[in-house]
């Protein structure tokens, strides 16, 4: 009776499963040799990665001038992609930290993949601020380390420096969170492993996990602690990223609403990315029982909510520009919408404001192909949001004499494609050799929220209170005997 959950609530695990079955379902695909599809996918990802490496090499060797950036638009695809990738990461942390604190059981099905996505996304994001530097070999100047140049310290006033701290902290905590959760499952794989290498490898990776009560207790405590630590990070990282813009003087950047606006946007895009990945993963690894329609719908609801917040931010921006009566502010937004890059703004509004409204229909929320398409649409929209903020604010700012257009060149595209390569390479390796669904966490909700267990409750729920009480008392009496 301890684990009673109403049958009205959708089950989180479909089918009739026991603990062993869960393990079988999730772990056994890892023990097989990689299939043809996997190799093709990996080859594709590696090709993209290699192209990215070549693009970055090209840019580093010849200079940033091989990009389309110019004297007026000093940041474009580089920082757009940075913010986009960082934003994507946010869903993972939100799921693992905030939903854990809120005791949302449905997070168990998606948290592992989402956390992995976070880490890979942040890794991708980190490439951009590094390689967009004119003199990347001096990138270490950005670290506050004791030195013999005075000593010469970094500029603690610069939001770019705050970025360094925010993103590196975020990456560290995310890795800790993800990996500590992974340990019991790795230990499970180790215990099942038959090959010597797998035994050795997973043995090392599992840090000697034995599954004692003490270990479980400590793991839970650690998870709670890290959740507490990451919760502010969910809000702070993208707030800090937004301050790159908000603390500047450029109209279209200098906005006080940026931190919440960026955080909402990040979660919006992050959940869309989780959808994209999980819809593919559940299909390929046959994990439909664990990532159910209920999960997908729950995430679609979050996408709708955050999409609404983002839309509100767009309207606020426009209103304030008009209300401020500042000619530069008004000009920035006028040129954003009616300037030569008008189509970028149209894409942004279509993808981020108009299309998520379709999720008001429950049918569409629970429609997997539709959700998949929407998840990509949202991420296109969010990419354009950053592009609009960065490029469309810079290209027509204070001095009309300096106004330009910006078009990317191949090394910028290549760099972006390369980060996709990096992301998918990491994700494919992860999905092949590590459980994409947290086995132990699924087990923890199985008997409360599993479909077969819930079905046993139907009979009980049909009873009247009196019958039920009588039965319980009876059973207690029998037990007392």
């Amino acid at each position: 009776m301890l684990h009673y959950e109403s049958t009205v609530r959708e089950p989180l695990v479909n089918g009739s499963k026991d603990y062993h079955q869960v393990t079988e379902d999730i772990i056994s695909p890892l023990e097989k040799k990689p299939g043809k599809l996997w190799w093709i996918a990996l080859g594709f990802a590696l090709t993209m990665l290699l192209f990215g490496v070549w693009s970055v090499f090209w840019e580093t060797y010849w200079g940033i001038g091989v990009w389309g950036e110019n004297r007026t638009v000093g940041w474009a695809w580089d920082i757009t992609n940075f913010v986009w990738w960082v934003g994507i990461g946010h869903a993972g942390t939100l799921i693992s930290a905030i939903l854990l604190l809120f005791r949302q059981g449905w997070r168990t099905g998606v948290n592992r993949a989402a956390e992995a996505m976070t880490i890979f996304a942040v890794l991708c994001a980190g490439q951009f601020p590094v390689w967009h530097m004119g003199r990347v070999w001096l990138a270490f100047f950005i670290l506050p380390y004791p030195n013999s140049r005075g000593p010469l310290w970094v500029n603690f006033n610069s939001p770019l420096l705050w970025d360094v701290f925010a993103v590196s902290t975020y990456l560290t905590v995310s890795i800790l969170f993800w990996y500590s959760g992974l340990i019991p499952d790795v230990a499970t794989i180790r215990d099942r492993a038959k090959k010597k290498f797998a035994k050795w490898f997973y043995g090392i990776c599992s840090f000697g996990w034995r599954g004692t009560a003490k270990e479980w207790q400590r793991l839970e405590a650690l998870a709670l602690l890290l959740a507490g630590l990451s919760t502010p990070l969910v809000l702070s990282v993208h707030s800090v990223v937004s301050m790159d813009f908000a603390t500047s003087v450029i109209p279209g950047w200098h906005e006080t609403i940026f931190p919440p606006y960026f955080v909402a946007g990040a979660i919006f895009s992050g959940f869309a990315m989780v959808q994209t990945l999980l819809i593919l993963t559940r299909k390929i690894l046959h994990l439909e029982d664990y990532v159910t329609l209920g999960h997908i719908e729950a995430m679609n609801k979050i996408i709708m909510l955050t999409g609404g917040i983002v839309a509100m931010a767009y309207i606020t921006e426009l209103f304030i520009a008009w209300y401020s009566n500042v000619v530069y502010e008004q000009g920035a937004f006028w040129w954003r919408i009616f300037g030569p890059y008008w189509w970028a703004y149209i894409i942004l509004i279509t993808c981020n404001v108009v299309s998520p409204q379709l999720f008001w229909f429950k049918k569409l929320r629970r429609n997997i192909p539709f959700t998949f398409v929407m998840s990509i649409v949202v991420n296109i929209g969010m990419w354009f949001e950053r592009f609009v903020i960065i490029v469309l604010s810079l290209y027509h700012d204070f001095m009309p004499s300096a106004w330009v257009y910006y078009s990317p060149r191949w090394p910028e595209l290549g760099f972006y494609i390369g980060t996709f390569g990096l992301f998918f390479t990491c994700y494919l390796i992860f999905a092949k050799y590590f459980p994409v669904i947290a086995v132990w966490e699924i087990r923890s909700v199985l008997k409360r929220s599993g479909e077969s267990y819930k079905q046993q409750m139907v009979a009980i729920e049909q009873k009247t209170t009196e019958e039920f009480m009588q039965e319980v008392q009876h059973e207690h009496a029998v037990a007392a005997h």
Partner: protein
């Protein structure tokens, strides 16, 4: 003695069995000799390891150090007296080329000329320079310069050349020698040419100017009996009417005129009393852009305009009018004529009319107008006629005819390049083949030189001795600032050699010429040091006018050009002019003051014509630099050129700049850039003068596009308060009106204490000592761009090449923003030099993560190149967009090898000699921007410190300030109440002083002064284009 027992441990005290065992077996373990043995027997024992380590590190060190390029700095064995490394020397000299004149002071470092400044001792240019003069130092180091004499295209020695030429000259069999030059103004050279003609009787000296002023010369001969051009004094004119003369940009002596003109445009105090300037023209010139009123017309209309203006002035002054003058059928032009006549007639003795036409009859009429206005002796000075242009077009045509007829024995070409710039260059080239002996003295393999049998290259002027007489009674001297870089020889020495002088010495000749005139060696040296000798006082005088205006008018009317539906006008660009220095990358990359286009010529058309052709340049595509190409056919010649839609062009005129389309041999920067427009120069059969327009033109779009490297694509300032303008009347009624809004805004946030009160973070820096400030007077700035090039020369600003300008990667630290307002067919123009504003609360400074840009206690916004990692955040956050990023390795200062981006030969060892050693050459990936010429400030401070006194005002000058011909830029220490900058700020604080984007609280150290236009407010009123949501 008590048996006191000391014990080391409890084991010893209790004497446990284990302890006993330990005592028994003190050395109970085997010594580990075995392991040592193993170690000693190892393949690489410890000592060997150290040996190997030592060897490999040493070897690696040596190997690595072999790779490093060794650059030797060799000290002087005997140090020259005047050259101290690190200390510049200055020499007065003179820029003289094709009749352009500018007295200069040349800065040399370690024996290399690196910077040109104007000579302030000259009353002609008053220390001003032009972009071309500023850039001339780079031409000294041009890799395409000829390095040795040549015979038939092959290297020769001077002895061989002299022998061959002397023999050739001796065997001409009576056929005359012709010396073909551009305008020369050297008295000593002229004497030498006289001597040469005595040696070779029958020698003719023909002066040929590609952009000719023969019309003026002939008209003046007819009007005043002198085939000369008088001095003009715009500074005495209150009424200026220019009929197509671009006197601020390209006409005759723009530096001189700009300086004079600016004196009439300065405002002292609260009462403005400006000259009024009315311009009639057929294209958008720099002068037209600065005019108070501007009227456009087809070039074929000019005769009628002049005639009408003559009559209108005559009517207003009560003088006899010309008969049979047809009326102008355009209302705007009629109004313009009326306005001009009224203006001129109300300013007798203070009026000046100039005309850019090369038609003698038109110029006679202009002389007639000036005569009515009493300009002679007031604004026109015949006491000091100028020697700027002397070419008579008919002489040149006669020469070509004679050459074709085989009548010319030898042709010696000095400076001229007719194969390129003669209207029928091909004919000249063919005629050249019929001349037995051809010699070119030109400094590069230009279009004419390649066809000459002998090439005897002259020095660059910075390697030369010389003299000049720009105006009668005004003398100017040229002295070498460097030993000739190549095996070149002064043109004069070549002449002397061919006159039979075995040891030609032009320097000695020059001294011999001048010493007696000046009164001895000391006077000569003094003259060299000063650079110029000028009359103590000059009395302006006119000449009696004896021109026949009636006859001129009759002739004009009889030969009225047939007006075309679409007409073509040729013009000179301010940077490239006639094309002489087309291979100068600084000039090629200088944005044209009006079109803001670099690296090309193009056909300028009006927005109305563009509309008709279906070209629409609007806010969506103005940034697309791929512009349509048009085929332009006129006078039987067809050329395809990109189209540039330029507000201010008359709707039925197209304009093309000359000076482009040079051959590849002219140099890497010039070769293949643009198209040659000289073939469109036509001949006025009646006068035998060149006309720079074509009356019948057809323009058809080819459907292709061509990229034009334009640096400013948005032409409107959108009514934003970055530009503040007003009219003279409004200013005199309420001098503070234009800046009131800004002052009131400041008042709201602390007024005088705006710096600390206008912010939430009042931790503004303290400036205990000096504080630098700059003031730019928008009323004086004519937008000529001399500052841009001066800055480029002073600060080693990189040339990026056309493809990189197209990518908006240009590097200029100071740019001239040019904004149009009002009617697109005839807009008002305002120029705004924009450079780093050295903000005291700089947005760039707080965003740099590594503190590479920071503030000095003198108010400078500093760039620390070594610290910069190139995040470009500062550039984004600069509201003035004046920061420049090193997108590529422009100057070979990068950590990576072989990734140089150099399209214009700027990185050869030769060209790099122009670099200023006081300024770091920036590497790829770092940000840069205007430093207020911090190296000059340090120099000036050091000099003052050594002298033990405070810095005086004017000792520290920025390069842009020094180059400016109109003194629009004032710079100095704002803490010095007596300094010019402080006085200007004090004087204008309630009137014209404003800061750009003041409300951002950036606290700039550069202020601007409101532009005041001498225009009626109703004509000036411009509907501001302001976009709202």
């Amino acid at each position: 003695m008590s048996e006191k027992k000391y014990w080391k441990g409890l084991e010893e005290l209790y004497n446990t069995p284990s302890y006993q065992k330990t005592v028994r077996n003190e050395f109970r373990e085997e010594l580990p000799f075995g392991e040592i043995d193993e170690l000693m027997k190892a393949k690489t024992p410890r000592r060997d390891f150290l040996k190997y380590l030592g060897f490999s590190i040493t070897a690696a060190t040596i190997a690595a150090s072999c790779e490093i390029q060794v650059r030797k700095v060799i000290p002087y064995v005997n140090k020259p007296v005047d050259i101290t490394p690190g200390v510049p020397n200055y020499y007065a000299s003179t820029y003289v080329q094709d009749g352009d004149y500018c007295p200069v002071v040349v800065k040399t470092r370690e024996g290399r000329p690196i910077k040109i400044e104007g000579n302030t001792s000259s009353s002609i240019t008053r220390g001003g320079t032009s972009a071309m003069v500023q850039a001339s130092v780079l031409s000294l180091y041009d890799t395409a310069r000829l390095r040795y004499p040549m015979i038939e295209g092959k290297e020769a020695t001077w002895e061989e050349l002299d022998k061959a030429v002397t023999q050739g000259l001796a065997n001409l069999g009576g056929a005359p020698i012709v010396l073909l030059t551009t305008t020369l103004m050297s008295p000593a050279t002229e004497q030498l040419i006289q001597e040469f003609s005595q040696k070779y009787p029958g020698t003719r000296h023909i002066t040929y100017d590609a952009v000719s002023y023969a019309g003026m010369l002939l008209a003046n001969e007819a009007s005043y009996g002198k085939r000369a051009i008088p001095s003009y004094h715009f500074e005495h004119a209150k009424a200026i009417v220019s009929l197509g003369a671009d006197f601020l940009g390209t006409w005759l002596s723009p530096v001189e005129f700009a300086s004079q003109y600016a004196q009439t445009r300065k405002i002292k105090g609260k009462k403005a009393d400006l000259s009024q300037h009315i311009q009639f023209e057929s294209y958008m010139s720099l002068t037209g852009a600065n005019a108070d009123y501007r009227y456009t017309h087809r070039p074929s209309q000019l005769p009628v305009i002049v005639l009408n203006l003559y009559n209108a002035v005559a009517q207003a002054m009560g003088k006899p009018q010309l008969a049979n003058v047809p009326a102008l059928n355009e209302e705007a032009l009629q109004k313009g004529i009326q306005r001009a006549a009224k203006l001129l007639a109300s300013h007798p003795g203070e009026a000046l009319v100039v005309c850019g036409s090369n038609n003698p009859q038109i110029q006679i009429l202009v002389n007639g107008i000036n005569e009515m206005l009493g300009a002679g002796g007031k604004t026109i000075d015949w006491n000091a006629p100028v020697n700027y242009r002397k070419g008579i077009d008919a002489d040149m045509q006669q020469l070509v005819a004679d050459m074709e007829a085989g009548k010319i024995g030898a042709l010696l070409i000095y400076g001229a390049n007719p194969v390129y710039d003669y209207y029928d260059g091909q004919r000249f080239a063919n005629a050249l083949k019929k001349v037995a002996l051809t010699v070119s003295f030109n400094e590069r393999r230009d279009e004419t030189t390649v066809l000459c049998r002998y090439v005897a290259p002259d020095h660059h002027y910075l390697e030369s001795w010389g003299d000049a007489e720009p105006k009668t009674g005004y003398y100017s001297f040229i002295q070498p600032t460097i030993f000739p870089l190549f095996k070149t020889r002064a043109f004069q020495e070549s002449l002397m050699a061919w006159m039979g002088n075995p040891q030609p010495d032009w320097h000695a000749y020059l001294m011999k010429f001048w010493e007696p005139k000046l009164g001895g060696l000391e006077a000569w040296e003094q003259a060299l040091q000063n650079g110029v000798i000028e009359p103590q006082q000059s009395n302006l005088a006119g000449l009696p006018f004896k021109g026949d205006v009636q006859a001129a008018a009759a002739q004009l009317l009889a030969n009225q050009p047939k007006p075309g539906e679409l007409e073509l006008v040729l013009y000179e660009k301010v940077g490239i002019r006639g094309g002489r220095w087309a291979n100068n990358p600084w000039l090629q990359e200088m944005p044209d003051p009006i079109s803001k286009c670099t690296w090309d010529n193009y056909v300028c058309i009006s927005p109305a014509l563009a509309w008709k052709l279906g070209i629409s340049i609007n806010r969506f595509n103005e940034n697309d630099l791929n512009r349509p190409v048009a085929r332009i056919a006129a006078g039987g010649k067809e050329v395809s050129l990109p189209v540039l839609v330029l507000p201010g062009m008359p709707k039925d005129v197209v304009a093309v700049a000359v000076g482009y389309g040079r051959s590849a041999e002219v140099g890497k920067a010039a070769g293949g850039v643009g198209k040659n427009a000289y073939p469109w120069v036509s001949l006025n059969a009646q006068n035998q003068t060149f006309e720079y327009y074509q009356p019948a033109v057809s323009l058809t779009l080819t459907g292709e596009t061509y990229p034009l490297a334009i640096t400013q694509t948005h032409n409107s300032f959108e009514g934003r308060p970055i530009i503040l303008e007003t009219t003279q009347r409004q200013y005199n009624e309420d001098p503070g009106e234009a800046t009131r809004e800004q002052r009131e805004e400041r008042e709201r946030y602390g007024g005088e204490n705006y710096a600390t009160q206008g912010t939430l973070y009042p931790n503004i820096f303290d400036f205990p000592g000096l504080k630098w400030g700059m003031s730019i007077d928008l009323n004086s700035c004519i937008g000529c761009g001399a500052c841009t090039i001066a800055c480029q020369a002073e600060n080693n600003v990189a040339v990026v090449g056309k493809d990189q300008v197209l990518a908006h990667h240009e590097m200029h630290w100071i740019r001239i923003d040019r904004y149009f307002s009002g009617d697109p067919e005839n807009p008002q123009v305002v120029f705004q030099p924009m450079l780093c504003q050295q903000c005291d609360n700089a947005p760039c400074e707080n965003v740099c993560p590594v503190a590479a840009t920071n503030h000095s206690d003198e108010g400078l916004n500093q760039m620390v190149y070594n610290r910069c990692i190139g995040t470009r955040y500062c550039m984004n956050n600069c509201p003035y967009k004046v920061r420049r990023f090193n997108w590529r390795d422009w100057q070979g200062a990068d950590s990576f090898a072989d990734n140089l981006k150099d399209t214009a030969d700027m990185n050869s060892d030769l060209t790099r000699m122009v670099l200023n050693p006081d300024v770091t050459v920036r590497g790829r990936g770092v940000m840069e921007k205007c430093s207020f010429c911090v190296q000059r400030l340090q120099d000036a401070k050091l000099a003052a410190k050594k002298a033990g006194r405070p810095l005086l005002d004017g000792e520290a000058m920025t390069a842009c300030q020094q180059a400016c011909p109109t003194q629009a830029i004032v710079f100095g220490n704002v803490h010095d109440a007596g300094a010019a900058i402080s006085q200007i700020r004090e004087e204008n604080k309630d009137t014209r002083l404003y800061y750009v984007l003041d409300d951002l609280h950036t606290l700039p150290n550069v202020n601007y002064l409101v532009k005041v236009v001498n225009k009626d407010p109703e004509d000036f009123y411009v509907e501001p284009v302001q976009h709202v949501l």
